[in-house]
Each structure stands twice: as C-alpha cells, then as structure tokens.
C-alpha cells in the first residue's frame, strides 16, 4: 500500500517584528511594538512619538466635538480634550507604577510612560476614527444631552480599545497578576468621567473656559443636565 507522509505542520507563526515603531504598529501588534522598543532601546523616542500622536488625535476629536456649538468652542474644546487626557494620564501615573510592579512587571518611570502614552495614543487614534460619526450628529442634532451621551459612549469605546492594547503591552513587560491593573483601569475611567464635569462646558455654548469656582461631582452634574 502506498502511504504518503503528510507534510510537517508549519511552526507557530512568530509575531513579525514591526519596522518603524508608531501608533499604527501599536494598533496591529501592541506586544511586539513594545517588545521591539525595549529591545532597540527606543522607549523614550517612542513615548515622545506616542505623546505627540495622542495630543494631535485628541485635539482633532475635540475640534469635531467643538463643531456642535462652534464659535469659541472650536478652540476651547480641542484644548480641553487634549489637556484633559494628558492631565488624567499624569494623575494616574504613580498608581500605574505601583500596580504594575505588584503585578510582576519590570516597570520604571520610562516604561510606565511608554505604557500610558501608548494607551492614550491608541485611544486618540480610535477617537479620530469615530470623529466622522460625531460630526454627523453634531450638525444634525440640537440636543446637548444626546451629544454628551454620545461623546461619553464613544470615549469609553475608544478607551476600551486603548486599554486592551495597554494590557497586551503590560503582558509583554511581564504582567502576571492582573488585579491591580484592573483596579487602575476602573480608576482611570472614573478620573475621565470626573474630568467631563471639571472641563465643562465641553458640549453646548461657550460661556467661560472653566468653571473653576463651581466644584461639582460628575454624577450631580449629569443628573442636573438631564433634567
């Protein structure tokens, strides 16, 4: 009987090494991107690249959000969205380092900044992807509440994708226990939600840049807006 030997199974496909590291390589291969950055010693350069991308993308999303009210909101909202994103990241940086190290990661300030800027850049990129949808509604609806709701939902969706990449990058850097990072992610969302109140008005007419003297909890603010 003529038996034929089946061809050997191919080896598991190794994750390709990305070429020039950028937000796009992060989008497709988060773990390989951060791994390559560490291996090539490009952590700082990549952090700068991610931060610049994040600021630009967040500003573009802010600009589109600002078209809803137009006028002064066209410059105020991009400024607040980009600044708010960076502020939230810096606020949560110390806890990211502590939780990361607790989770088994080899994490210092430089790598923590890489993780944060990568997450923020990817979130920003996703927000730019959502921008046409936001623009479509901004020119067709007159409801502040609907626009606010839409912006928060879209921001959360974009953050989930950015956060997913951050988890993959963290796994590449040795994360074994995920409890701390879970808590950190929830806390970051909470900070972002509070910032939607702190940086008001993001939706609706511009009256002043910030309501610094009117301190409010975001739930109270949302409930009042919904009335």
């Amino acid at each position: 009987m003529n038996t034929t030997t089946p061809p050997p199974l191919p080896d598991a496909k190794p994750e390709p090494q990305p070429g020039r590291l950028s937000v796009l390589t992060l989008l497709k291969q988060p773990a390989a991107t951060v791994g390559a950055a560490v291996a090539r010693g490009e952590e700082t350069a990549l952090t700068v690249r991610f931060t610049v991308s994040a600021v630009l993308c967040l500003a573009v999303f802010g600009l589109v959000l600002g078209t809803y009210a137009s006028g002064a909101q066209l410059w105020a909202v991009p400024l607040k969205v980009a600044g708010g994103g960076l502020f939230a990241a810096l606020l949560c940086l110390p806890s990211l380092i502590i939780f990361g190290v607790m989770g088994g990661m080899d994490l210092g300030l430089r790598r923590a900044l890489l993780l944060l800027s990568g997450m923020l850049a990817l979130t920003g990129l996703m927000l730019v992807g959502f921008a046409p949808v936001v623009w479509l509604f901004s020119v067709s609806t007159a409801s502040d509440n609907f626009m606010g709701f839409l912006a928060v939902v879209i921001a959360l969706l974009a953050f989930i994708i950015g956060s997913r990449a951050q988890w993959k990058m963290a796994a590449q850097l040795g994360l074994r226990q995920v409890g701390g990072l879970c808590l950190w992610t929830v806390m970051f969302i909470f900070v972002i939600l509070q910032l939607t109140c702190t940086l008001r008005p993001l939706i609706g007419q511009y009256d002043r840049l910030l309501h610094v003297n009117e301190k409010r909890f975001f739930i109270t603010h949302w409930v009042d807006r919904g009335k």
Partner: protein, 232 residues
C-alpha cells in the same frame, strides 16, 4: 556588598519577593521594619491629606495623622490573635515571623495609597461646599468610593504576601488558610477602627474635629448600609 537602594527595596516590597525580603522574613532586620513602617506612614499620610482635604486643609492634616494610626492600631490589636491563630492552625509560623509577615502588607498598602493620592487630591478638589445641597449627594458617594478604594488597596497588599505565607508554612494549604483568616481579621478590625477615628471629611452639618464627641457610638457596617440607602 550589594548596595540596597530605596527603589530596589520598594520593588521587592511591591513584588512580594527578593533577597532582602527573604532575609527579613527569616531572620528579621531593623532596616526593613523601618522601611515598611515609613512606607505605611508616608502613603497613609498622603492619601489622608486628600481624604480630609475635601473639607479643609486642617481636616486633611488631621486625617493624614489618623490614617497611619488606624493602620498601626489594626496591626497591634490583631498581633496576638494572628500569632495564636498561626499556631492553632498548625502553620509552624512563630509569633515574630507572623508579625514580620504582617508588617509587609501594611507597608505595601501605604505605597498603593501613595500612588492613589494624586487621584484622591483631585477628587477632594471637586468637593462642593459643606453647607450646599450638592454636598448631600456627594458625601455618601465619596464615602463609599474611598471605603471601597482603601479596602481594595488592603486586599491587594495582603495578596502579595500569600506566596510567602505558603512558602513559610508547613503545608501550602495551611498557609492559604491562615492567610485568609488574617486577611478577614485585619479587614474586620481595620474597618471598625476606621469608624472609631471618624470624621474623615465630615458629615454634612457636623463640625471639623479630630474625633467625634462620642466616637464609640455605632459601627462601620451600619454606616455603610446607611450610605447605600442614601444613594439608592
């Protein structure tokens, strides 16, 4: 001889492993004890400043002093019981070893709270005026948020010593058992001590003071139930 840096020690503490940590757990060492106590004081002070700072700076400073006190009193109140339980459950851990093991999570909890302190300050900055209507909604939410945050920080910090307890105990199962008994005891006592040292940012209408006029009235668990009812 290898130079021990603060950041290296912090890394060992956070990971719950490392040469220095092993030597401390086996034979003791003043340096580690000072380091964990210092971490507990610093972290709890920084977080307490944010917690009480929601009401006023004076309140923030008071809470910055009270939180480390609560931590050390929890350790002290449970010290004898925890050592006895370790013996009764047949772990083979002695009294000193138990005490050394249990100082670690309190130090690590301090580091976690130090990391969370900027967020606590950020939230405190948003506190509405204590005599306004918004404060009545904000207060229970803020109370619950910090209660959950501090409890999770405590649980995560304790979780880091679980491998060490298992390794040092006679069997892995007994190590696991005694760990959960210690954790439950520390959470239970810690929560009630926290209650006794109230106020932390002050119920609406009540003055800023270091301790309430009748600090021993009521308990922590009733207060949480009350807050939940106020929100929902």
């Amino acid at each position: 001889m290898r130079r021990v840096t603060v950041s290296g020690q912090l890394g060992e503490l956070c990971r719950g492993r490392g040469d220095g940590l092993q030597i401390f757990l086996q034979r003791g060492g003043a340096r580690w004890l000072v380091f964990t106590a210092g971490a507990a004081i610093l972290g709890n002070f920084a977080y307490g400043l944010g917690l009480g700072g929601a009401r006023s700076l004076v309140m923030g400073l008071m809470v910055g002093v009270k939180l480390p006190l609560v931590i050390f009193l929890t350790l002290a109140v449970n010290a004898l019981l925890n050592a006895l339980l370790a013996g009764a459950l047949g772990t083979g851990l002695g009294g000193r070893q138990t005490l050394r093991l249990l100082t670690l999570p309190f130090g690590l909890m301090g580091m976690i709270l130090l990391g969370l302190a900027p967020v606590a300050w950020f939230l405190a900055w948003h506190a509405p005026a204590a005599d306004g209507d918004d404060y009545k909604i904000w207060y229970p939410a803020f109370l619950l948020l910090h209660t959950v945050g501090i409890a999770l920080a405590g649980i995560l910090a304790h979780r880091q010593i679980l491998p060490q307890v298992r390794a040092l105990a006679v069997t892995r199962a007994r190590g696991t058992l005694v760990f959960f008994v210690w954790l439950a005891g520390n959470l239970f006592v810690g929560a009630q001590l926290t209650w006794l040292f109230r106020p932390y940012f002050g119920s609406p209408g009540l003055p800023v003071q270091f301790l309430r006029d009748h600090p021993l009235e009521g308990n922590f668990y009733e207060a949480v139930l009350h807050s939940l009812r106020a929100i929902f």
